[in-house]
Amino acid sequence: MKMAWRNIWRNPRRTLVILTAVFIGVTSMVFLAALMKGMVFSMVENSLYNLTGHVLVRDADFVADPTIVNRLKGIDKILTKVKAQLPEGGKALKRIRLDGFLNTARDSVGVNVVATDLDAEKGVSFIGDIQIDGLRLDNSDKGSVLIGYALSKKIGLSVGKKFVLSMQGTDGELIARSFRIKGIFHTGQEEIEKSVIIMPYIAAEKMLSIDGDGTEIVVDIPISDFEKDDCETLANKINNVMPDSIKALSWKDVIPAVSAYLTLYRSFMYIWYLIVFIAMGFGIVNTVLMAVYERMREFGLLRAMGARSIDILRMVLTEVCLLIIIGLVAGNIVAYIMISVMSSTGLDLSAYSSGMDMINISRIIYPVLTFGDLVKADLTVLALGMAISFYPACKACSFSPVETMRNV
């Protein structure tokens, strides 16, 4: 051990090469992983913030046929039952969410009507914190709505103007009613601004004459790591206390594309780890091999003295292990500092934001570092680093004393 430690410092330049390789390798692994994770998590979060929530409870048939026929009858009772299953800090609220048509003198546009308790949406969906031009919507207001900025441009209606909204009623007939635009909201996401119309819960309830009914219950729970299965667990728990006609789905099932992204990100991460590792591995193997050849005579001498191959193997591996651990510690510290700094300031990507909107990534990325990721990266580097060092270590064992002590 002492010998290994001293051997490391025999050729400081070479030691520095290995340390740098490990350091850069692990820093970039950890840092990029954290950044990627931050990006993917922000994408997931934003997608869920677009009304999906973490768990969505709906009528079992609503998924295939999202019409008023498949609504949740007596939604308040169901809501109470759902709330009983929530973990600490969880929230649940009811919505009526159905498609309809917005008619003006010139246009007829398909829209998605979201009727909800605007205050309760805070922290659950974007509705809770949208910027509004005009007036805020009062929860008891039965005749007013908010429309998106993009939609207002498209149909040419501004605050205060009226339009007719038509939706299918429980009997299959169209129901039309006129609403006043109380405000125009901005989300930065064109897709949402173009299609969503927001109104108080009571307004839709009255218009459609479905007192006491709704179409969905959205659940929001505190989540630190989207890769974990908290939402599935909760969905299962809710399903267990509900009749078969009511179905709770986790966001992964509601928007499978987003969860596919998560899988993709994970595979990408492994590829990234592999690439960094190969580069780092070459650096380590080459330098250790050089060091070993330089000390050929010494290994021969040790063999002559009666050292077994395993003693020499252990010696070389101890040296490599020490080097890798030093590199890892340094790399972890630097990566941790970089990530800490960035998780308060964030990495501003607004310059590229036009492309980012498409895939629901925020303009500012906050890297996410979990302890598990750090440990995973470190163990990968250490284990693989030691594994590939077996090659130079075995070389060191193979030197025969006779060959190496000749030509003195």
Partner: protein, 227 residues
Amino acid sequence: MSIVQVTNVEKIYTQGKVEVKALDGITLSINKGEFVALAGPSGSGKTTLLNIIGGIDSPSKGGVTVDENIYSEMNSFQRADFRLYNVGFVFQAYNLIPVLSAVENVEYVLKLRGIKSKECRERSMAILSEVGLEDMADRRPADLSGGQQQRVAVARAIVGEPALILADEPTANLDSETGEDLLKLMLKLNKEKNVTFIFSTHDKMVMDYATRVIYLRDGKIEDTHTI
């Protein structure tokens, strides 16, 4: 009582297509406590013979028995272990591990045997003072003179109290006075501890210390002098 028994040993090295007969039918027997010199011109096979007796090289033909152990019946692992407990080596140069101090070099052999650090240190310091280097114990090889380095090497060879010490031209890199001192030291240890020494040399003066001189030429024993 014979400690080393070499019977009809041949060693052929092949370098490309050329075969070199380094040893050609060597038979000899060395008794416990002898102080034997191997003499002979360059290329006569001294190093090869020492390596074969030490078990770090193996003969092409013939057999070697050391302390009733037959090398050809051991695997390389057993031979390493055998060396660790029974054979000490001193080479012409580069005997020491540069990153270890003198005393650490000496105790390395004991540590390989799994002896406790405290005992290793005590025994190594004792041997170092026997070779007159107790003040240099903490110096690295680079800070020792050539003669001092060889003394450390002798101390390391003997610290584990092996039956046999093999020294390949231990004085070749030393001036004659230092070389003579080293020989005197080896002889003293040979007498005190009854350890068998076999060393090779070109030097007439060094041979004079030996109880027996074996002359090699072209891989054969040319002559033997017993004093």
